[in-house]
Amino acid sequence: MYWRANRWRAWIPPLIGVLAMLTGLVGPVGPATALAAYQATADSNESAFEPPCLGWDDPRPERMLTLAVNGMVALGYDVKGYKGAAFTKAHTLSRTVNDWSYYVHSHGDYYWYAPESRRYSGFREDSGDCAQSVVFSKEIALKRAGRATNLVVISTCFNGDSNTTLPGAFGIAKSKAGELQWNGPEFYVGYLGEAYDNDEEAFETTFWDALKRGRGVGPAFELALLEHFTHPFDADWWGSYVWSGRAGPGSFCPNCL
């Protein structure tokens, strides 16, 4: 009898996940792709940091793109990386409709949005040249139309600030669900204020590595913050601390059972 009870217990979490998927209990509807392939996009602005825009070739944008792509693959996403002329505003806004996860390394700020005479958070495209348009959170929000996202890592300045408008664009509320809470399978990471690239890379190397080791998003964030930063670096998160980071809508709260 004991053996039977234990055997059934092992099936409870996946069954709850499947039931939640079928009944829509896991939160807002995700992107419109087939459930089997969870599309993700990783963009990195390299052209801004190589000739002719600047006179040296900074290897970091490509390296951080590699880290993100590998990390997302390990979490089960169907990810494609874009840089140079392939990373344009049009490309990002087109892909975002079907993205379950998104990573970007670029310039970021709280930019002036002329059509509404107000500021929105955003980041710059690469576009393969030195005239790089801003991708505004407002534009991402319009494209996604409230669809949920799994994992969003914004590797720019200012997009972890309390006033950032990017989490909402990806359907992630700026609230923290701790050990016994659940906002759904979602997690947003951004950096506060100005952030130097060395510190961002140190953070992200550890963050993706911890996720690959199965630590889950909250502990991965904590381990990344233990790195030895050379400036007053800080990052923040919103979403579900206990989520695994794995692709798709079928995750459940492992601590809430």
Partner: protein, 318 residues
């Protein structure tokens, strides 16, 4: 010898059935193994011959022999009590090689009775505590610390409970709802070692959140340190080369100071992906952009070797 200590060029798993001794293939294999050991030694692959490349695993994980694992778990129990961590129902331990960070540590994970991870503690192979974190989100469990002095006092309590005596200048920083960060940056003869020292993270109520310690090896101090003006002149020349003419007038040197830094590949992509382990004395020249060019490049730090004036690396503010 543990399998993880084999030289990097050997397969992780040896063939299950080796040809019998005396046969030529087996002889060749044994000779190759012996030659490999003679070249690389028994201490495992050196960083120089096996450099970290981004995209590879940043860490290598190994099981600890039972005796060492037991010692690490015993340390974690003591540290947990000193830090006020929840009582662990179960602990696991792994040896972690941080390839980018040039560090090896024993990582203990605490679990509660329901199997949930509650804390992670890291120890250097010699048993020193190098990092700890209380997992979870612990906002608003008690009265929030009001001022910098309260945060420093709470951080000192954390350190003293673990026999750690911080030195140097303390810098407390409020992190909004995330609490506080209190940092003692390491300095040697008055020269900072950025990234080294002790950093304590506290929840808003002053309870323990995280702790990390670092002390990287330093190269010999140069016999003669060049003047800061030598570094600034070198950087001005680099900026003439690096910044397009239209923006050059908006990019200025903002300050210069000595620091012990890790040489890196920021300006020379052919260098290794990981920053070097040994810190070198450098003039760090800070560069800031103004006007429209700040949209292209907010700032730079350019590290110039304080002894020979060569370019050591730097950092970019996008």
């Amino acid at each position: 010898m543990f399998l993880s200590q084999l030289p990097a060029h050997l397969p992780a798993r040896l063939p299950a059935r080796l040809p019998r001794p005396g046969r030529r293939p087996g002889t060749i294999l044994l000779v190759t193994v012996a030659a490999g050991l003679l070249v690389t030694g028994l201490a495992g692959p050196a960083a120089g011959s096996d450099p970290y490349v981004a995209g590879q695993a940043a860490t290598r994980i190994a099981r600890l022999p039972a005796g060492l694992a037991g010692a690490a778990i015993g340390r974690a129990a003591r540290t947990g009590r000193a830090l006020g961590l929840p009582e662990a129902a179960r602990r696991t331990v792994e040896r972690v090689e941080d390839r980018r960070g040039h560090a090896t540590f024993d990582e203990v994970t605490d679990f509660d009775a329901k199997g949930r991870p509650t804390a992670i503690l890291r120890y250097a192979p010699d048993g020193r505590l190098v990092a700890a974190v209380h997992l979870g989100w612990h906002e608003g469990r008690g009265q929030a610390l009001a001022a910098d002095a309260d945060a420093i006092r709470a951080a000192l309590n954390v350190l003293q409970a673990n026999g750690i005596e911080p030195v140097g200048q303390v810098v407390p920083r409020k992190r909004g709802a995330n609490g506080w960060s209190v940092n003692w940056e390491r300095a040697v003869d008055g020269v900072p070692v950025p990234g080294d020292g002790v950093r304590v993270q506290l929840w808003a109520d002053g309870s323990f959140h995280g702790l990390s310690l670092a002390e990287h090896p330093l190269a010999d101090r140069p016999a003669i340190v060049v003047e800061s003006s030598v570094a600034e002149t070198a950087v001005a020349r680099l900026l003439d080369r690096w910044i397009p003419a239209a923006g050059r007038g908006e990019v200025r040197i903002d300050g210069t100071a000595l620091a012990w830094v890790a040489p890196n590949d920021t300006f020379e992509a052919a260098r290794p992906d990981a920053p070097e382990e040994v810190r070198r004395l450098a003039w760090v020249v800070r560069v800031r952009s103004i006007g429209a060019f700040a949209e292209v490049l907010r700032g730079l730090e350019v590290a110039i070797d304080a002894g020979d004036g060569s370019l050591l690396g730097g950092d970019v503010l996008r």
